[in-house]
């Protein structure tokens, strides 16, 4: 009856066995990234570890000052002065990539791992046509491809990301495209050589909500088709609920909670996660006052000695253990649906949640 395109949110087809290979496609271990500023050293990524399985869609949720963008850049080796990855490892397809030189990394970027950013204008060259930029991305990884063939592939990529009149729009410049279309182009470029992992850093934040819906639908379709694993960096909990299967919550440089998406929203363990969920206006929950989280995240140059959330924590504020001792990551549930939280009261909160 309705002629607009309707899309079911979840793909109902059962996952094929081979897309759930036991080895993760991406593994991050004890990653540490520091930025040297006048005020001191900002530790944006503080000993972070996580895995990403093939075709999995994981969210890194955090607000500004959490280090989430730095984490994304660290994984693909794009951290530039005054920042530096000072410790840890990044394993991609079984190979450690954090110490690779620019040339090697250049080969891997695009073909095995790609990144899409919030603002396409920062990544697109304003004086080159869209078509030329896509061709550039293609021939970087397939240098033997003839120009004509690369051009054809570029046009078909534009079609794949649903740019209308792709053939004609090939010769346009970035400023002639709308924000939504530019983002589609970024996605086209990022997926041009079929990478195994896509890191998307706030890809829809700058877009109108209906455009966001289009882009998320497109992204969902493409990663499903290509079995691309996605690390979706965002502060938007609605997008997380819509798009991702698993969530890592980031605060002051640490991953403080890991949980399958359903469980996270239903029974958040870390008080920060819970506070975040209570601060968002929701149509299914009408309240007069949103529960704002008082205070502000700590500057990454001077994170509190104990739990970094303690000053703002409704549960731990003022408690000696929270103030003085850093909480350790506690695995509350293992396996594929792992739940891990870094909180001195994680066990209690887990048991309470299990009881309800």
């Amino acid at each position: 009856m309705i002629s607009g395109l309707r899309v079911r949110r979840r793909d109902d087809t059962p996952r094929r066995a081979e897309s759930r290979v036991s080895d993760p496609v991406l593994s991050v271990r004890d990653l540490r990234t520091e930025f040297t500023a006048r005020e001191g050293v900002a530790v944006a990524v503080r000993d972070v570890s996580f895995d990403l399985r093939r075709a999995e869609k994981v969210a890194i949720v955090g607000e500004s000052g959490s280090g989430k963008s730095a984490l994304g850049l660290s994984i693909v080796g794009l951290v530039d002065k005054p920042g530096k990855v000072v410790a840890g490892q990044v394993w991609l397809n079984g190979r450690e990539i954090s110490r690779l030189g620019d040339r090697e990394l250049g080969r891997i970027r695009g073909s095995e791992i790609s990144m899409v950013f919030q603002d396409p204008m920062k990544s697109l060259d304003p004086v080159k046509t869209i078509g030329d930029q896509i061709v550039e991305a293609i021939v970087t990884h397939e240098p033997t491809l003839k120009r004509a063939a690369a051009r054809r592939r570029a046009v078909s990529l534009l079609r794949e990301v649903e740019i209308p009149f792709a053939e004609g729009r090939y010769g346009d410049y970035p400023h002639q495209y709308s924000g939504g279309m530019r983002q589609r182009v970024m996605i086209a470029i990022a997926l041009a050589s079929n990478p195994d992992v896509l890191i998307a850093d706030e890809p829809t934040t700058a877009l109108d909500v209906t455009t966001q819906a289009q882009i998320l639908a497109l992204l969902g379709k493409l990663v499903e088709q290509h079995h691309t694993a996605v690390v979706f960096i965002t502060h938007n909990l609605g997008v997380v609920a819509q798009f991702c299967e698993r969530v890592e919550v980031m605060y002051a440089g640490r991953l403080v909670e890991r949980s399958p998406v359903g469980k996270l929203f239903e029974h958040p363990i870390h008080p920060y996660t819970e506070a975040l969920l209570n601060a968002v206006p929701r149509p299914d929950r009408r309240i007069e006052r949103l529960q704002a989280i008082g205070g502000f995240p700590p500057p990454l140059t001077s994170v509190p000695p104990g739990c970094s959330f303690e000053p703002r924590c409704p549960l731990g504020h003022g408690r000696a253990i929270c103030r003085d001792a850093k909480p350790v990551a506690l695995e509350l549930q293992g396996g594929e649906g792992a739940v891990i939280a870094e909180c001195h009261f994680a066990r209690d909160r887990w048991q309470t949640a299990a009881a309800t």
């Binding site: 395109l5 607000e63 609920a241 359903g262 929701r282 149509p283 299914d284």
Partner: protein, 357 residues
């Protein structure tokens, strides 16, 4: 404020009169075409036929995506831009009847709060000076009175006098937002136009600001014209709203009606597009993905409904192509501009739990 421009102290709770403070009537704005020096000179219609009332102490939301005209509407309301059609009547006075001097006086009572307070605060002035400035500009009070009033206002926003002498960069983002707000209310206005006050901030900051705005509204009987693109925020905060698309009102209603039973396909598409922070509810949803994007410059259709090219209901229908639908009243407080209102239903895109009872 007394009529001589003298100073009255910040009142406590003003008497809530509940009458209309702002009336916008068939407001329209056309901008001259920027494409050619010579040529059609047709211009671009940024806004057309916008009409709504705001009562004292009430929040009216202007909701829409880029290019919908909400910012243009704000500028017309504040008298910063002359409308091409219609009028803005503030506190019983048509802004067009006022000369520059009188308009300035009216502006004491109608202020704007900016989206990006960091950019709008003078980096060389202390918070106190920033908040005093409107008083200085309007020649109100003695130096001591201005200082006291600025301090009171900042304190109302959680910045104590001892902390008020720093420069903007020495405050956090959230504090800067508060300083900007303090500046907007120091003159004790009755209406505040808020242009996307929370779209550029984090979740936790958003909640703080929204709560603060609500508190200020209750304490000072402030009316708000709230420009927002985030429907979830609009639903939480606004009493009544108008949904705009490419300069025209698609639907105008009280909050509950719009979210319980929206009638316009665009409103429903917007609701469909907004992700709900609940995987359980998201799992149950079907989405309407609109085709294409809102018309770029020069592509606007002169006839027919501006939403037709993307409309899931009307895009193939003759009447939608040929006749622009007028805003019609469907219920006590619900107006829709559509030839087939209600053909699409909110139940098609929202799980029952997310629709107000």
């Amino acid at each position: 404020m007394n009529s001589k421009g003298g100073f009255t102290p910040l009142p406590g709770l003003r008497e809530r009169k509940g009458d209309i403070i702002l009336r916008v009537e068939t407001l329209g704005k056309k901008f001259p075409s920027t494409r050619r020096l010579v040529g059609s000179g047709e211009g671009q219609t940024a806004l057309t036929q916008l009409s709504f009332d705001v009562a004292r102490g009430e929040t009216f939301g202007l909701v829409g995506e880029s290019g919908c005209g909400k910012s243009t509407a704000a500028r017309c309301i504040l008298g910063l831009v002359k409308p091409s059609a219609g009028r803005v009547v503030f506190d019983g006075v048509d802004l067009a009847d006022l000369d520059r001097h009188e308009l300035r006086k009216v502006r004491r009572n109608m202020q704007m709060a900016f989206q990006d307070s960091t950019a709008s605060l003078d980096a060389r002035m202390s918070a106190l000076a920033i908040v005093e400035e409107p008083l200085v500009i309007h020649g109100l009070g003695t130096r001591l009175e201005r200082r006291r009033r600025a301090e009171e206002t900042l304190a109302l926003l959680g910045i104590e006098p001892e902390q008020a002498r720093r420069k903007p960069h020495e405050y956090s983002g959230g504090q800067r937002q508060r300083i900007g707000l303090a500046r907007s209310i120091v003159l004790n206005p009755e209406l505040l136009v808020l242009d996307e006050p929370v779209s550029a901030v984090d979740v936790s900051m958003q909640a703080q600001i929204l709560n603060l705005l609500r508190e200020l509204q209750d304490r000072l009987t402030l009316a708000y014209v709230f420009i927002v693109h985030d429907l979830a925020v609009a639903e939480h905060f606004c009493d009544r709203l108008a949904v705009l698309y490419l300069g025209s009102v698609m639907e105008l209603s009280d909050r509950d009606s719009i979210f319980r039973a929206p009638l316009h396909p665009y409103t429903i598409s917007l609701l469909s597009a907004v992700p709900i922070p609940s995987p359980a509810l998201e799992d149950q949803r079907e989405r309407i993905i609109l085709r294409g994007e809102a018309a770029q410059d020069g592509q606007e259709s002169e006839t027919g409904c501006p939403f037709r090219p993307r409309c899931p209901v009307g895009h193939d229908r003759d009447i939608c192509r040929s006749e622009r639908p007028m805003l019609e009243r469907k219920k006590a407080d619900q107006w829709v501009a559509c030839h087939f209102p209600g053909e699409l239903s909110v139940g098609d895109v929202m799980p029952a739990a997310a629709v107000p009872a």
